[in-house]
Symmetry: C2
Subunit: 350 residues, 2 copies
């Protein structure tokens, strides 16, 4: 899944070059490329499918040259994750009625690739032998308030449990209770299932979406697919896969995993996951002269020199035509700033 | 005089495009052009001479197309103001032995052009009838610690007094005493004199410099002048015109003027002289979305959007390849930052 616009990281992440296409951690590979690298030991390139917005097609092709063009599914409209997941499932089902899928965001950080590989292998074994919707639940390491949690029930196999409930982001007190209980795990948004299982789940639990895609029977994975999608995809409701099926289904399971996961959903998450210099500043691909300044994250496109004095715990993000200087504690206001910029200047700085 | 590099305004002012060439006040004219416009009612373009560093020749020619190329005197080395002033005087003397000059920086602000014109006209009358070195002393309006002061003696003609002493920049207490006394005026660095008078002053008071230029007798204002300067100008000592002659001469006078002068020598001076929005922010040619931010100056080349939150009394200066975010109270540290940048990165960001 590669169609998001990453507006929480505006202006470093922009509508025309979102977060997943950026070398966010300065490793030389974009988050999308890191996701691809991670999945490659498990899935051959010809079976890796990227669902993205049609405007990002050239960037996907450029960053993942080994994937066939026909594996890049281009959404003509933004409809959240459920239509994205459904389309991929219908497409894969047409190519192989027995196929299993792993569905993963392309903009997350995973630090322990080997454990990821082992976890996914274990997950595939489970969904290939059960009619299950399997989500990966992350062993929590702190009372994080930025994530959704999954409460688990009985263990059905080693490491795999029934899901009792999905919960929204908790406040800090509740998050502490969750972590202490041992019953709650972070909801990673990474799913495994057989294509046939999830298509059936859509038909049962989200017929609004399934009806749209059922109309395309016989067209998936053919040269008529693109035209069908252009005409019908925009008619899908916009809804997340969690709301559409996961929270309603009875055959939902969670595999407990612990592979160094972070959704990189906020500047502070990026800050926490980045190497820091002795003043606890994080520098992204720019040169920084910092005087009396600490705890900042500098995210700048290109080889720019940043000179700061007297800044503590700020985001300094420069994207060429937009500069943001904002306390990290106010990062939740950035989405409003993007909206304000749209009101004031139209699409120019989006 | 147009050869400075304006390093106190780095990175907005850069070695390759200093302050005087920038539309510093957002009026559509650079400070150099504003200086030219101001002098034009008094001096015909063919008599306006620009002394600048040779690297700025193309910018002068572009910004002042009505000045003959032969009036742009190109210094092959930086030697402070005395060699600059001396060369111009020798050059003018060769063109017209009776000529009077006004010598003015090209990067100051003067808000009342009509009063400037009247003051300069009055000054020319004085120096054309006296063997005098005349400096313009500004009626102080506040106990400014950023300027040198001139203590005046007896009045010799209405509005013109003998100079008693030049003083360095005072501390605040002393500056208050100066202003209250009525005897002290700001040293504007604008001078009037006959070419013959100032050349004679150099010969008497700064023979090191005069000796260099006397060697060029017969070459000024000819096609041999440039070669002579290339070979001999770098041999001049580096010294200001104040030290070289003004503080030593006995025939120094001051004309008291009051035409809305500011040397724009600091970011705070620029801030004070710029229009402010309702949050007391000053914006230079960029779009700004400011949240909980006041008292800042935003100086940005180009049509960039700046979004800030939680910044008060900062300089935010962006020059494309360099960004500076610095409390205005620390502006005196900027020169050190420029030096640090040179140590770390060579000339790249100078």
């Amino acid at each position: 899944m590669c169609g998001g616009i990453g507006s929480r990281f505006w202006p470093y992440s922009r509508a025309n070059r979102p977060k997943q296409f950026i070398d966010f951690l300065g490793t030389g590979r974009s988050l999308l490329q890191m996701s691809y690298d991670r999945i490659l030991p498990l899935v051959a390139p010809e079976n890796i499918i990227v669902v993205t917005n049609e405007q990002y097609a050239p960037m996907v092709a450029e960053q993942l040259p080994d994937i066939p063009d026909s594996n890049i599914l281009l959404e003509p409209a933004r409809r959240n994750t459920a239509p994205c997941v459904a389309w991929a499932a219908y497409h894969v089902l047409a190519r192989d009625p027995e196929a299993s899928l792993i569905v993963t965001p392309s903009d997350h950080l995973i630090t322990r690739d080997r454990e990821f590989e082992d976890s996914v292998t274990r997950g595939f074994e489970f969904v290939e032998t059960h009619e299950a919707l399997l989500t990966l639940g992350i062993q929590p390491t702190r009372p994080e308030t930025g994530y959704g949690y999954i409460q688990v029930g009985e263990q059905v196999e080693p490491g795999i449990r029934k899901v009792k409930t999905f919960t929204e982001k908790p406040d800090l007190e509740l998050a502490k209770v969750f972590v202490a209980s041992g019953e709650f795990f972070w909801n990673s948004g990474i799913f495994l299932w057989k294509a046939a299982t999830v298509v059936e789940a859509f038909r049962q639990l989200c017929p609004d979406v399934a009806t749209v895609f059922d109309k395309g029977a016989g067209l998936y994975a053919t040269d008529k697919e693109a035209k069908f999608i252009t005409e019908n995809f925009p008619g899908c409701m916009s809804i997340s896969v969690d709301y559409a099926i996961m929270e309603k289904a009875s055959n939902v399971y969670v595999e407990i995993v612990n592979f160094g996961w972070n959704d990189l959903g906020t500047w502070s998450a990026l800050y926490d996951n980045s190497p820091k210099n002795r003043d606890a500043n994080v520098t992204q691909r720019c040169s920084v002269l910092a005087y009396n300044s600490s705890g900042n994250i500098f995210a700048v496109n290109g080889q720019k020199l940043i000179v700061v004095s007297g800044l503590h715990d700020y985001i300094i993000a420069d994207a060429g035509d937009v500069l943001l200087v904002c306390p990290m504690a106010e990062e939740q206001r950035i989405k409003q700033m993007v909206t304000d910029a749209k009101i004031a200047f139209g699409d120019r700085y989006q």
